[in-house]
Amino acid sequence: MITFTILYAFLIISVLFNALGVIGLHRFPDVYTRLHAATKCTTFGTIFMTFAVIVYSGYMYYWNPGQDHYLNMALHTVGALVAILVTNPTGAHAIARAAHKVGIKPKFAVIDELEKKEAK
């Protein structure tokens, strides 16, 4: 029963952080802060969702030994997690770089170090 408590805790953390990402997407003022909220929160939520799936499949494999599709499930989820961990920050970096290069300013920023560095 402690297994399902851990499982529900992981699932609730995951859904909470995904919901925070969506709320941040609505509430923040410009594209850079929205990027910050959406990308980080969804990556963190996906990590905890993967933990939940691993705990569930390990529990089911412990009580039903010989059913290999539970191990298959855990391994595929780890593959999806690695894909998200590699691609999500890279995509966010590409979006921020494109936005800064076109000339969108951070809304409440008083100093822009990257622009000074590129002007040199």
Partner: protein, 86 residues
């Protein structure tokens, strides 16, 4: 009705809420970012549906979906930046 379906329905509502940013975003980067978030949340929904129903091929769909979304995001950001595709 298991808890995985409840969580899937909550995440579908999150996708619908963030599609507001896709349609009404001030700049095109907001729309691209919202599409990226929708892709990640849809991947999580695919994983949950796969675990709940026991159909393993949904997991393959999830992995290929997030990788193809990455390729699309990089290509679109490069195009908006004015870069070339060499």
């Amino acid at each position: 009705m298991s808890i995985l379906w409840v969580i899937s329905i909550i995440l579908i509502f999150a996708v619908l809420l963030s599609s507001y940013r896709v349609f009404m975003g001030p700049t095109i980067y907001d729309r691209l970012l919202a599409l990226n978030l929708v892709a990640v949340v849809v991947t999580i929904i695919f994983i949950l549906v796969s675990v709940d129903t026991g159909m393993g091929h949904y997991m393959d769909i999830a992995v290929s979906f997030i990788v193809l979304d990455f390729v699309g995001t990089i290509a679109f950001a490069n195009y908006l930046e004015g870069g070339d595709f060499e």
